[in-house]
């Protein structure tokens, strides 16, 4: 137990904490307030509570297409990330091979690079491919590939850290009990890392869903939701409609992030003895 703080210091701490939280969350709260309001311009004090702007958003084809595009890109990039990131984590944890040390770094690099660098690099590369006739042009496909490069990292890191915490003896026990390699993978290994794969996938999804910089470089004629919002802000019309769209993004991503956190926290229940 920590010693009890005096009343004064508790009051001071409480105030500081409240200010920090306000700094972080007040902008979000204001967006939410405007989204659920009938006023046509964002001004203070807000007008009557209403779902008017959600109705506008729903009946506006542009943001609807943008949301659909964002979902397509995010889902495809996530699937790619799971299919490539999981085996990569396995390879790095389980096997010895030439270049193993640098592979981890090379895989993690895209998430460390500024988006603008990834954007320029990939745009240059894709333009070349388009000139060679390999790609028809910039499209949702090029955006998806761009997103996949950093989505892989999230799956890779999550699975790798889970694999590092699980003991090989579970798999040995499975083989010892008569299961061959495949049976062991499906019955023991996969259930052990399932949570980590899903958590990594959820984080990858949210990252892709609101990504803007790389998307901006690689997009063709279509729009994703963040790009639509960006474009709309500049036009300075129907401002609360953007607030409603922002609320949609918040409503999608917060539960996903919470779920991902819950899944990574739910570690493999230790079957090893308490004292070793």
């Amino acid at each position: 137990m920590f010693p009890r703080a005096s009343t004064v210091s508790r009051l001071a701490l409480g105030t500081v904490a409240a200010l920090v939280y306000a700094f972080l969350y007040l902008p979000l709260i204001i967006v939410i307030i405007y989204a659920f309001n009938s006023a046509t311009i964002t001004s203070w004090p807000p007008g009557q509570p209403s779902l008017h702007w959600f109705n506008v958003l729903w009946n506006d084809p542009d943001p609807r297409d943008a949301i659909a595009n964002s979902l397509k890109v995010a889902i495809t990039a996530t699937v790619l990330a799971v299919l490539l990131g999981t085996p990569a984590a396995f390879a790095l944890q389980r096997f010895r091979f030439f270049g193993k040390e640098s592979l981890g770094f090379v895989i993690t690099l895209p998430i460390l690079l500024p988006g603008i660098i990834t954007g320029i690099a990939m745009l240059t590369w894709f333009t070349q491919l388009i000139q060679w006739g390999v790609l028809p042009g910039l499209s949702l496909l090029t955006v998806t590939i761009g997103h996949a490069t950093f989505c892989i990292v999230l799956v890779f890191n999550n699975v790798l850290s889970r694999l590092r915490r699980t003991t090989r003896s579970l798999e040995e026990a499975s083989m010892d009990l008569g299961a061959d390699g495949w049976q062991t993978f499906w019955r023991v290994t996969l259930p052990g890392i399932r949570g980590a794969v899903i958590a990594g996938a959820l984080l990858a999804f949210t990252l892709s869903f609101d990504e803007i910089i790389v998307t901006f470089f690689l997009i063709g004629a279509q729009n994703t939701l963040p790009l639509w919002i960006l474009g709309h802000i500049r036009q300075d019309t129907n401002f609360p409609e953007i607030d409603a769209a922002a609320v949609v993004i918040i409503a999608v991503s917060i539960p996903i992030v919470l779920l991902a956190q819950f899944l990574t926290r739910e570690t493999t229940q230790s079957s090893s003895p308490a004292k070793l």
Binding site: T167, S169, L170, E172, A173, S174, M175, D176, L177, G178, A179, D180, Q183, R187, V188, P191, G192, T268, Q269, S270, S271, S272, P273, A274, K275, L276
Partner: protein, 403 residues
């Protein structure tokens, strides 16, 4: 702990002597033929040959790094030997996968599948062999009954105590009716009292199911109290194989004498011999007589070892009518309930002597002068040098002395 079997020490002993096995006459369950394992430039196991008879409780005893776990992992199929052949029931399994061997393992960390219930864990081996559901349920119930965990089918491993997990691991291995059960320090994580109880339990189960147990441990007491035979290992080699009494009473060399239990070691020069004994001149002790051993005739400098409990403490005026006596002084005494451990100085030497507390408390006081007496049969000649002995003592204390 619930429902432990009423096995007392005498039962355990009679069971062991009753099942004394002769490796030549019983079919061999495990045969290692020149098996060795090299990791990089390190020899984890030097070329080793070994025969374990069917139904035997066989222990590999050694400190960490002695090669005992490597031996077990090679037999289980988790490691491929660098050279040599492994036979199980006379079938060459050297290159077979673990799931192709009729062998099951109890792991040191139990390795229970955390995402399965107790019943799911125990029935795992039957499920991967696609046995029928009701057959699996029946056999799971029987296996849990064997380890006294009936009714625990639906618990999760995380809800069990260490001892219970240990028994689930045992049931999971035994349900497949293996020809051989490998146990890798299975009691290492349990506290002392539970460990003692589980020793009896393991021995009872082994007698119940009648299959060969290969037990890896660094704990001498465990190895001694359960095994039919013990192999003492050091530096990737087997140093001695024998019944626990052989290993303890007649250590093959100075290493084993130092590793298993405590030994007082004296060095002396042979000055005379008759048909059954040598007479040694040991500085500060005078003439010490020791039984002759075949194969050790021409040496004139010998190491001899005496166990602390073989020495009787007498008053100085009593000669005890025993061949070997020497006068010393009590310098340390540590009372341990059933017995007292004395340190007794004889010249520059200090002998360890253990005496049962027959009366109330220790019978000797610090500083008291006493006569020590022991017979020529209870000390024995050790091949090997004092360095080996020191090595043995160090490895024993490194792995937590058991006796």
């Amino acid at each position: 702990m619930t429902g432990l079997p009423a096995v007392d020490a005498t039962d355990g002993r009679s069971a062991r002597s009753g099942s004394t096995l002769n490796p030549e006459s019983t079919p061999s369950d495990v045969r290692l033929d020149g098996v060795c394992k090299q990791f990089g430039t390190v020899w984890a196991l030097k070329p080793t040959s070994l025969d374990i008879a069917r139904g035997e409780f066989f222990s590999l005893l050694g400190a960490s790094g002695s090669g005992k776990t490597t031996t077990l992992r090679i037999i289980a199929g988790f490691e491929r030997p660098t050279a040599g052949r492994v036979f199980l029931r006379e079938r060459d399994v050297t290159s077979s996968a673990p799931y192709e061997r009729n062998v099951n393992t109890v792991f040191q960390d139990y390795a229970l599948f955390p995402h399965m219930s107790v019943g799911g864990n125990v029935g795992y081996g039957l499920r991967v062999r696609r046995e029928k559901r009701d057959e699996i349920a029946r056999r799971v119930a029987r296996a849990l009954d064997l380890v006294r965990l009936s009714g625990y089918e639906h618990r999760r491993p995380s809800q069990l105590s260490g001892g219970q997990r240990q028994r689930v691991a045992l049931a999971r291995a035994l349900i497949n009716a293996p020809g051989l059960l490998l146990l890798d320090e299975p009691l290492g994580a349990l506290d002392l009292k539970l460990r003692r109880e589980m020793q009896f339990e393991l021995k009872r189960i082994q007698i119940d199911v009648g299959i060969t147990f290969l037990y890896v441990t660094h704990d001498q007491e465990e190895a001694m109290s359960m095994s039919d035979r013990v192999a003492v290992m050091s530096d990737g080699r087997i140093v001695q194989i024998g019944a626990p009494t052989d290993v303890y009473e007649r250590p093959a060399n100075a290493f084993v004498a130092g590793f298993v239990g405590t030994s007082n070691v004296l060095q002396g020069r042979v000055v005379a011999h008759d048909a059954s004994t040598y007479q040694l001149d040991v500085p500060d002790f005078g003439i010490v007589s020791v039984s002759r051993v075949p194969g050790v005739t021409e040496l004139d400098e010998l190491l001899i070892a005496i166990r602390p409990e073989k020495i009787t403490i007498l008053v100085p005026s009593d000669d005890g009518r025993i061949e070997n006596t020497v006068v010393g002084r009590i310098v340390t005494a540590s009372y341990a309930g059933a017995f007292t451990r004395y340190g007794i100085s004889v010249g520059p030497h200090e002998l360890a002597v253990v005496e049962q507390n027959m009366g109330s408390g220790p019978s000797w006081r610090l500083g008291e002068e006493v006569r020590l007496a022991w017979s020529s049969e209870t000390n024995h000649i050790l091949p090997g040098s004092e360095k080996d002995l020191q090595h043995g003592t160090e490895e024993a204390s490194a792995s937590g002395r058991g006796i």
